[in-house]
């Protein structure tokens, strides 16, 4: 089946020439803010995506499951998957021509869309990579070089949150510790009651980083921590870093775009990465790494670790060709904007409703189980931590993994669980928290099933200790 001109071509044409955006006639969007760019067409409510259309878009999800873990692997609607397949076929059809004529300009298109979404100044500041894990390797490799080449003194510090993602911690070990950097982990409280608690602890962490005349060369801060999940007061922390003369700030916002507000100029970090396949409906996998241009137009010397013939042409260009790969996930990005704009309020509307729903469901569970949330509603986005009844006897990381497997296999519920050791002298401590996510495909029944499953376990006198494995 020789394919005719495929939808991706039409879609990107539509983007460049659509009257939706406050654009000039030549298609360049001069937007001063994120909201200008994502201005939605005047769709009347009848033309918004309907509930049954949403169901249809996610009909490839396993219907048996209460899929309340969008945070881990995200989701991708079938209309985007179809467009992705078109891109795959376009390459397979005549790969040389695609490589020489289409790939680079189309990746540039995706970068432009992202640049405007995140309110970056220049396209050069936006590179597309596979995922936040890759972005971390890129930034940390740069830090390692500085240690190895003597620009940083051995023992200078890298400060990160104790709740930093496991892969990022390993990356810090592989690149920073190995090249002579000193790593400081800032302990954060959990459960947490206010942003101030985090800010105070962070200040203390920075202080210890600067002890003994050291410099803090890099602060690595999550925008939304993974486990336990909390929205970090990132703007304030970046300001503190600037005041305390931290060389560079790298924000790991794996759960950023589509989850929280992502505005590069407002946040003010040097590096910022976010996955698009978690909360922005991209297929696996695509992320952006933003690298702020300095006032004199310079960019830090970052390189993609998979070195190709594009080495030295700037990170964005290096990342656009890392050898023969399937780049289709990166190419559908412009089409995703069309998808989110079928919802009332576009991506902002989706974020708002996800947040309201997840808080509502969180409260519902707390009430039913007699437990508590892990943080106040204003410190969560589209995920929230909900305490499990203490009587379940969650007492280790191994327990939560086994309990998660049990919920999956017996109840067809997919939910990550977090173990937090009890505080000294705590009576009936809540040591297990589920992290519930809410995305457009979720329904209250999903959370009712979780509620009822846990209540059933409680009624049956269930203990984690009884689980094998």
């Amino acid at each position: 089946m020789a394919s005719s001109l495929s939808p991706p071509e039409k879609a990107s044409y539509h983007h460049r020439h659509s009257k939706r955006y406050s654009s000039s006639t030549n298609g360049n969007v001069e937007s001063s803010s994120v909201s200008d760019f994502i201005k939605r067409p005047k769709i009347s409510p009848q033309n918004y995506i309907s509930c049954s259309e949403i169901e249809s878009e996610f009909s490839h999800h396993d219907p048996e499951f209460a899929r309340i873990n969008n945070g881990s692997f995200g989701c991708c609607p079938s209309s985007i998957l179809a467009l992705q397949r078109d891109w795959q076929l376009r390459f397979l059809r005549q790969p040389d021509r695609f490589y020489f004529d289409e790939l680079k300009p189309k990746i540039s298109d995706s970068r432009s869309v992202i640049k405007r979404l995140i309110n970056a100044d220049h396209d050069d500041e936006v590179s597309i990579v596979d995922n936040a894990t890759t972005a971390a390797a890129i930034v940390l490799q740069q830090t390692a070089w500085a240690f190895r080449e003597g620009r940083f003194d051995k023992g200078d510090a890298v400060v990160m949150l104790h709740y930093a993602y496991g892969s990022v911690k390993k990356s810090v070990e592989a690149y920073v510790t190995r090249s002579g950097g000193h790593v400081i982990e800032v302990q954060l409280p959990f459960p947490v009651n206010s942003a101030d608690e985090i800010i105070d602890r962070f200040r203390i962490g920075l202080e210890s980083g600067k002890a003994n005349g050291r410099r803090v060369r890099l602060a690595l801060i999550d925008h939304v921590t993974s486990m336990p999940s909390v929205v970090i007061p990132i703007k304030e922390l970046v300001k503190i870093c600037r005041r305390e003369c931290v060389d560079q700030v790298f924000v790991d916002a794996a759960h950023g775009i589509g989850c929280v507000d992502v505005d590069m100029k407002e946040i003010g970090a040097d590096f910022y990465t976010s996955n698009l396949h978690k909360w922005f409906f991209a297929p696996p996998s695509v992320a952006f790494l933003y690298c702020r241009k300095s006032s004199n137009g310079g960019v830090p010397d970052l390189h993609h670790p998979v070195v190709s013939n594009e080495y030295g042409n700037g990170l964005a260009v290096e990342s656009s060709w890392v050898g023969t790969r399937d780049y289709s996930a990166q190419l559908v990005v412009p089409s995703i904007l069309e998808f989110v704009n079928r919802f009332e309020g576009g991506i902002d509307g989706i974020k708002k409703r996800n947040h309201e729903s997840v808080v509502e469901m969180g409260h519902m569970l707390v009430k039913s189980w007699g437990t508590q949330l892990g943080c106040p509603p204003e410190m969560c986005a589209s995920m929230i931590m909900v305490g499990l009844p203490a009587c379940l006897g969650v007492s280790s990381d191994s327990d939560v993994l086994k309990l998660r497997t049990f919920l999956r296999e017996k109840f067809r519920i997919e939910i990550p669980i977090y173990f937090t050791p009890p505080g000294d002298g705590e009576i009936d401590p809540i040591t297990g928290y589920v992290r519930i996510s809410f995305q457009v495909y979720n329904k209250p029944e999903d959370y009712h099933r979780l509620r009822d499953a846990i209540n059933e376990l409680v009624r049956d006198g269930f203990r984690c200790a009884s689980l094998s494995g």
Binding site: D96, P305, V307
Partner: protein, 454 residues
Amino acid sequence: MESDERRNGDSMSHNHRAPKKPRLVGLLSESDIDSEFAHHQTGVARINNGSFGCCPGSVLEAQREWQLRYLRQPDDFYFNGRRRGLLASRTVISELINADDVDEVSLVDNATTAAAIVLQKVGRCFSEGKYKKEDTVVMFHCAFQSVKKSIQAYVSRVGGSTVEVRLPFPVNSNEEIISKFREGLEKGRANGRTVRLAIIDHITSMPCVLMPVRELVKICREEGVEQVFVDAAHAIGSVKVDVKEIGADYYVSNLHKWFFCPPSIAFFYCKKRGSESDVHHPVVSHEFGNGLPIESAWIGTRDYSSQLVVPSVMEFVNRFEGGIEGIMIRNHDEAVRMGLMLADAWGTNLGSPPEMCVGMVMIGLPSKLCVESDEDATKLRSYLRVRYAVEVPVYFLGLRDGEEGVKDKDSGLITAYVRISHQIYNKTEDYERLRDAITELVKDQMTCQNLPSV
């Protein structure tokens, strides 16, 4: 099918295989092959399998099933299906290449990634003082450009030096290559230096030559080269690959070029050593430190489906007479036959004798085309693509002072070669179209200088 198993009381976590389709039996006919590659653009003489490879429709379908399986319930797949699926692929490959242990086989995105892994390790040895500054890395001058850049990024940056061995081309025998290589090793050892790494292509890319890789590795061992990395991007599905026989420390080959996998997947073989080998995937995940195969099996959320279809590809190739060996032999024989046809028609030459070719052959272009630079070669390639619907890479051979070069039937110097590929979807007409296109250009007195831009 999966829900049936659950109703029978089996836990879904035990169902690790992709849903089984009705198995196709019997050898593929020519029209079956046409159908498998129906997604290729019609009307194009696609004689460049070497660059981006190909993937048959039935393997693409198998890939889609894996993709959907992940999308359907990604957590379950992450915890239960993924590792077993990747192990199955690695096991197939390990047997195919005669590795001792499946733990020697990692799956990575492509050869470019494997090069970064090896060179990062070498770079660390320089940085950490294990190697002396000026110790050398030896490679061929026609090493793939990405590999050269990787050396620059990881080795030159920390003070390591490089020695480039010039590949004689056109080449007539293995001995020509071997003697040049020996010279290169000597240079690498001059002034008390140690050759820390030799990078040898199993099949060079441009110009394309099948190298005497076993002999070259043997020489490396004899001459005290510390590590040997064979960049065999084109090898699997092109030539027999026996990693024990070849004897390198590291060996990488892309499966999406000649082994019918979708983009992209390569296997990276690391010979087991007594001590910790300190190779790591540059994209560090929580699996860091668990050995390269495990590190590579999880480099963050990705679409791993192209790495999961290897067993399906084996099913596909076994529907050909002689399996993958039969395919390799036929590709080689046809590529040579077409190469000789073209050289005869144009009055030029082959870049190497048939026994030093695989499913790819270099054929000299008529001197009258006046290809005088890399830009000319690119221009000609684009012209052939746009005006004649012929996809073939063109190589400009820059002769150095003192090199004689080869003349064509018009007594002009041959300065450029096309690299034709033959894969199972190709037909004789593809090469006839190239033959006629070049013949017409010469007849019309077109040169790279007067060729219009397209």
